[in-house]
């Protein structure tokens, strides 16, 4: 945890999990034994040790109130929990940073208290005595009868009750002057066998980290009580009839005594109130249903699955009367995929909705964006986000991302395209023209979420080609070029990705989908020659053919089919194209020899991003003879 906000998120999320856990434990209090009741605390330990994932919650979406508080402090950074413990990375300069520093001091103070208590105890134990012969014999006898190991034992004057202390070399500490009851010894030796001092130490560590959360402190007490109840169960399983009653009497006799509270220790006595609960549990010992092992494990697995992973938040509160809450809810929903970042940006454009834009905006853009949208909301101006053009996007046409490619740093860049209802600036629409908005976009991971960064302003584009989802020849494509002699070979590749938002009835659902993948892509390529020489040189060529295949990053070039036949042309799903054309005198300078496209779609599962080819490998055929093999590399704009 690197900030106050991360700590709040972690501790409040764990508190939500603890509430659910307590409800479940209460439900099964009389049905599943103390062993299960204690094991259930392991789930809370997992929640506390597992950094809360951004956008996930257990009972209440605490990220929203945390983001609201951050908003009041004008802090629009993303909250992310890296570690389950606090780390101070810089000298504090703002109020939240000072509060975080104060919290860390509290952690250190609490830890220091425990360390001091342990040092005091160690000092006392150094001057303690070994047990007398009778006590030592009794310990050995109990260990032998019940098949348990023993450890170093000491006696201390003035101690109210026995306890076990230490992790690596545990010590059994007994009150001096009395011979301990066999059942008390059995209890402590069972703690030794199960290494319960380790659990006690873990609870202390978690107490240090969450010292200012009284609810979790209470849960820590309950956990240690269940630890003792579990040990009681183990004792009772080894005793019978009268011995069990004697054990209860031994507990009752301790009720008015004090008891030590030292970390990494366990003791039979844990408080008068708890002893009365434990005596009740002893009376219930035989009443737990038997044979519940499988279902108790299943219940724990399901509980762990829900409480550790939490629920994904994906509801934006679009109540603009409370903009702080609305923007906080938008910031609390991260886009978890690159496709979701592009899609959310597209929905922001289609709806001109500033909250959607906040969802996918980079941390650097958050403050300015928040101010702009807040100002418009306060003035009741709609739409509340200026998307860049003075026009309305056409929702029923959806959007597409053209020429999506993965960059070296793991981000993605592409060209956002959507259709406009009418030309911007009030100009009249011309028949046969399609008015588009284009913008180069980048999606990258930032603090565990995908964000969208515009690389340029939104541009108006007027096209006559009416296609939006398949090969619009007027929208920029990627040109792969290579030259051999006077022949320039070119593969023109255009890819389109989109999430289908438009139903068959023409309704566009613009609700953000922060976890979506693209549902469709289409890939089109054309193969083209350009002759760089004179017409006389061109006229010596009567047929040109090309067979070309894309090579993606990390992949090996494929074998190319021949393209020297008269009528053989085609393509396959890997993007390989081949074809040829006869040429008449006077042809040129450019000629298309092959072209085609292929698309895939899966609305249920989504499809992976198909990026751009790194290069093309091409066989050139001149007058039906293989003239050479070229590597075609991508260039900005047309081939030069």
């Amino acid at each position: 945890m690197l900030s106050l906000w991360a700590f709040l998120l972690q501790t409040l999320t764990a508190s939500g999990a603890a509430v659910i856990l307590l409800v479940i434990k209460r439900l099964f209090q009389d049905k599943l034994p103390p062993r299960w009741q204690f094991a259930a605390w392991g789930i809370l330990a997992l929640v506390l040790l597992y950094p809360t994932a951004t956008g996930r919650y257990t009972l209440i979406n605490w990220q929203i109130p945390v983001e609201v508080l951050k908003g009041f402090c004008k802090d629009y950074t993303f909250t992310r929990v890296y570690f389950p413990f606090p780390v101070l990375t810089a000298f504090p300069s703002t109020l939240p940073q000072w509060l975080f520093t104060g919290y860390i001091l509290g952690v250190l103070w609490t830890a220091a208290g425990y360390i001091l208590a342990n040092c005091k105890l160690r000092r006392i134990l150094r001057s303690s005595d070994a047990p007398d012969a009778q006590t030592a014999d009794r310990i050995a006898q109990v260990a032998k009868i019940y098949g348990l190991k023993t450890c170093q034992t000491v006696t201390v004057d003035g101690l109210p009750s026995a306890f076990l202390w230490g992790i690596f070399r545990p010590v059994l500490v007994l009150p001096a002057g009395t011979v301990p009851d066999e059942k008390v010894l059995l209890h402590e030796l069972l703690h030794l066998k199960n290494r319960d001092t380790l659990w006690s130490l873990l609870v202390c560590l978690l107490r240090c980290i969450h010292w200012c959360n009284p609810f979790l402190m209470h849960c820590a007490d309950l956990c240690l009580n269940d630890l003792e109840a579990r040990c009681d169960q183990r004792v009772l399983e080894r005793l019978d009839g009268d011995d069990r009653r004697d054990y209860g009497r031994a507990l009752l006799a301790m009720a008015n005594d004090g008891f030590p509270k030292v970390p990494a220790s366990t003791g039979m006595h844990n408080g008068a109130k708890q002893i009365s609960h434990r005596i009740e549990a002893i009376s219930r010992f035989k009443q737990y249903p038997s044979g519940m092992g499988l279902v108790s494990v299943c219940v724990l697995l399901i509980l762990a699955a829900y409480l550790v992973t939490g629920m994904q938040s994906n509801t934006i509160y679009q109540n603009y009367r409370n903009f702080a809450l609305a923007s906080a809810s938008a910031r609390s929903i991260p886009c978890t995929t690159a496709a979701a970042a592009f899609d959310t940006y597209a929905m922001a454009v289609l709806e001109q909705n500033g909250l959607y834009r906040i969802m996918c905006a980079s941390v650097l853009d958050q403050e300015e964006l928040h101010s702009q949208v807040a100002a418009k909301v306060a003035q009741r101006v709609t739409p509340n986000w200026d998307w860049g053009l003075d026009s309305w996007p056409n929702k029923t046409s959806g959007y597409s991302i053209y020429n999506l490619r993965e960059t070296r740093d793991g981000g993605y860049e592409g060209l956002f395209v959507c259709r406009l209802n009418y030309p911007p600036d009030g100009k009249p629409a011309e028949e046969g023209k399609m008015y588009l908005a284009l913008q180069k976009l980048r999606a990258e991971e930032e603090e565990g979420r995908w964000v969208t960064i515009p690389l340029e302003d939104m541009q108006l584009f007027i096209a006559t080609d009416q296609s939006l989802y398949r090969n619009n020849s007027e929208i920029p494509a990627i040109h792969y070029c290579g030259t051999q002699g006077l022949l320039q070979a070119e593969a023109i590749l255009q890819t389109v990705h989109w999430v289908n938002r438009v139903s068959q009835e023409g309704y566009c659902d613009t609700t953000p989908r922060p976890n979506t993948d693209f549902t469709h892509n289409y890939c089109h390529s054309d193969l083209q020659f350009t002759h760089l020489g004179t017409q006389k040189q061109r006229d010596t060529i009567t047929r040109l053919g090309m067979s070309a295949a894309p090579v993606y990053p990390g992949a090996e070039p494929q074998a190319l089919p021949p393209a020297n036949g008269s009528y053989i042309s085609g393509g396959n799903s890997t993007g390989t194209e081949w074809g040829g054309t006869d040429l008449q005198p006077g042809w040129g300078p450019s000629v298309l020899v092959a072209g085609g496209g292929t698309g895939v779609g899966d609305e249920y599962n989504g499809i992976p991003i198909k990026g751009l080819a790194e290069y093309y490998i091409a066989d050139l055929y001149v007058n039906r003879e293989l003239a050479g093999t070229l590597t075609l590399y991508p260039q900005e704009g047309d081939c030069q």
Partner: protein
């Protein structure tokens, strides 16, 4: 009422209860085999068998909760009231209680079968098998929903669904068979 009469009544009610709880027959949006009646049958079964199996008393509060919960759901469906989105986390106690209820209930019914049937009678083992299969299937299904991608999930779901259905049918059949053999034993 004699012991065997009580046993017969208890097992009979349990069998009818499972028929109603496991199987729905919806006609015009109206479930004519409402679950809440099945839970009332379970309550009656518990009342009849609690002396034979004292642990069954622990299930009474769960059964009452499910009578109310399934009753509300049935009324909601009958009057076609709009659905309410409830977080799966809030439904978790109900799901876990139901998982536990059926496990313990079937364990206790199997124990009744073991006590009052000949040693070679198959009812106890079969009930325990159905109980185990259903518990494992429900747990695996829940974990799949949480962790695995839908593409894998969709195939496994079908397998789990049919397994659960098979176990449900088998459980009901075994309970009716047990009821019949208790009648003959009486």
């Amino acid at each position: 009422m004699t012991d065997y009469e009580k046993l017969y009544k208890g097992i009979s009610r349990a069998a009818w209860g499972y028929l109603l709880v496991y199987f729905d027959f919806t006609f015009n949006g109206f479930n004519i085999l409402p679950d809440f009646i099945g839970w009332l049958f379970f309550l009656s079964a518990i009342a009849s068998l609690k002396e034979e199996q004292p642990a069954l008393r622990l299930l009474r509060p769960f059964a009452w909760c499910f009578v109310i919960w399934s009753g509300i759901q049935w009324v909601w469906a009958v009057f076609s009231l709009p659905g309410i989105q409830i977080s799966p986390i809030l439904l978790l106690p109900i799901s876990l209680a139901e998982l536990y209820f059926h496990f313990q209930f079937l364990t206790n019914l199997a124990s009744v079968a073991a006590t009052h049937q000949p040693e070679d009678a198959p009812h106890q083992k079969r009930l325990l098998l159905c109980r185990t299969v259903q518990t494992v299937v429900l747990t695996v299904n829940t974990l799949l929903v949480r962790f695995l991608p839908q593409s894998i999930f969709s195939g496994l779901t079908v397998i789990l669904l049919f397994t659960h259905l098979g176990a449900a049918v088998f459980t009901t059949i075994i309970l009716f068979q047990l009821r019949k053999s208790l009648l003959q034993a009486q």
